[in-house]
């Protein structure tokens, strides 16, 4: 796992994960750490950098907002543009 893609809603994360699954990709769904959920509570998807384009594409298709993309580090997270 290299990246965490944050969504506002559990249902949004489910929808994107399902669209990715339909394209042969399996990504893990996780609770977004509180420090990254600026508006409080949310869920996200773990993916590799190579999968990020597919995650963005699926999010667009699902018409759900990506709330943030973070690199997973050994001691925390780094926000990516």
């Amino acid at each position: 796992v290299q990246l965490l893609v944050a969504y506002a809603s559990l249902s949004h994360a489910h929808r994107v994960r399902r669209l990715l699954y339909d394209r042969g990709r399996f990504v893990e769904m996780v609770r977004t750490p509180q420090q990254l959920a600026a508006r409080g509570c949310g869920f996200g998807l773990h993916c590799s950098e190579a999968e990020m384009a597919a995650v963005r594409s699926a999010s667009q298709e699902a018409r759900v907002e990506i709330r943030g993309v973070f690199r997973v580090l050994a001691d925390g997270y780094e926000a990516l543009p």
């Binding site: 809603s9 559990l10 929808r15 508006r39």
Partner: protein, 372 residues
């Protein structure tokens, strides 16, 4: 008839209580995540059933009445104009009466003698600024199916929203929200969908046009005092009926496997036998369309000289034949078909009804008709 439930429904509810006892969206432990998967699966199946492109546009509610209240009260503001039909259930009529007290203007589209609400009747009732048409897909009193696609086309042309009450048709009659131009679709989980009571939902084409009725915890954007603007969270405050939705998930899977068109066809075949049989019994009067092809498996009748409630009691006590008598929470529809004072007896066919059931019911009615 919405009983018995497929065994898979009962199994799914039991499994959900055992293995999915968490609250979806609130935690990431196994029990909560499994619950959230079940809820999402059910959204997807419902979307497939109703030809909804985006499963997130379905919000779960406690029943169709809650969905209709949300749709009506979330859409109509003082000064707005809405059209409803003379075949509506109290689940539509009463919220509209409440909204009228708040300044919403209402016009009623009258049904024909057979209980069908024509597109022309709806169009006549519309005004230049009509915001919403609220229409029952099929009457719960006599089964008459309304031309929703035709009315949806008119609504679209005139810039009005179309709310469809699918209490009698979800799972029993094909529904395609895109082809029928439906903006809001309210459905129960426990009738034709064969799920448990306490489940239902609302499809919302455009959440921007629908205010919330209930606000609260959604497991999302919790730091904000404002209700989320996105679906489904916007309309799903508080803990969902997860075990009920698990049962509904299994039930919708069953309906999809069997096929709504096949269920509809089987019910129509039985409805034809039942209607023909009832017509052959003296003193019986049938209501609704003559052709079983124009209605659901709801058959409404009266027996001359007999109180419908007493008749239904006798059918149950003496012949073990279940029916529902009275006004069916739809006095407006009963007035329309001329049974506003007496009510009627209603037989309801279901996907598990058999020809044997029909003959037993006919034999019972025939015996009672000969007795008095």
């Amino acid at each position: 008839m919405s009983w018995p439930k497929p065994p898979a429904v009962i199994d799914a509810m039991r499994r959900a209580l055992d293995d999915a006892g968490g609250n979806p969206g609130r935690s990431s432990h196994r029990l909560a995540m499994r619950a959230s998967e079940i809820v999402y699966e059910c959204r997807e199946k419902l979307a497939q059933l109703f030809h909804i492109g985006d499963p997130l546009r379905i919000a779960f509610t406690a029943n169709a009445t809650a969905a209709l209240n949300l749709a009506l009260k979330g859409t109509l503001k003082p000064g707005d104009h809405a059209v409803f039909s003379s075949m509506e259930h109290n689940a539509v009529w009463r919220p509209l009466a409440r909204l009228r007290e708040r300044g919403v203007r209402l016009s009623m589209a009258a049904a024909g003698a057979d209980g069908v609400v024509s597109a022309e009747s709806v169009e006549r009732a519309m005004e230049r600024d009509t915001r919403l048409i609220a229409l029952v897909h099929a009457s719960n009193v006599n089964g008459a199916i309304n031309p929703v696609a035709e009315i949806g086309r008119i609504a679209q042309q005139r810039g009005a929203m179309l709310l469809v009450d699918a209490a009698q048709t979800a799972g029993a009659v094909p529904i395609d929200v895109a082809a029928m131009h439906i903006d809001l679709l309210a459905f129960p989980g426990h009738k034709g969908l064969l799920g448990p009571a306490g489940t239902g939902g609302l499809y919302v084409r455009d959440p921007i046009r629908l205010e919330t009725l209930v606000e609260g915890g959604t497991g999302s954007d919790s730091a904000s005092e404002l209700q989320p603007s996105y679906m489904p969270d916007r309309y799903e405050s508080g803990t969902l009926n997860t075990s009920g939705i698990a049962g509904l998930n299994a039930a919708v899977g069953y309906v999809l496997d069997r096929g709504v068109a096949a269920i509809e066809s089987a019910e129509r075949r039985l409805a034809t036998i039942l209607m023909d049989g009832l017509r052959s019994i003296p003193r019986i009067r049938l209501y609704g369309p003559d052709d079983a092809g124009a209605k659901t498996g709801v058959i409404s009748f009266t027996m001359e000289g007999r109180d419908p409630v007493v008749l239904a009691d006798e059918l149950e006590r003496e012949f073990d034949v279940a029916s529902r008598a009275g006004l069916h929470c739809a006095p407006l529809a009963h007035r329309t078909q001329g049974t506003g004072a007496s009510g009627a007896v209603r037989f309801s066919l279901g996907e598990s009804s058999t020809e044997q059931d029909i003959h037993a019911a006919l034999s019972a009615v025939r015996t009672l008709a000969q007795r008095t």
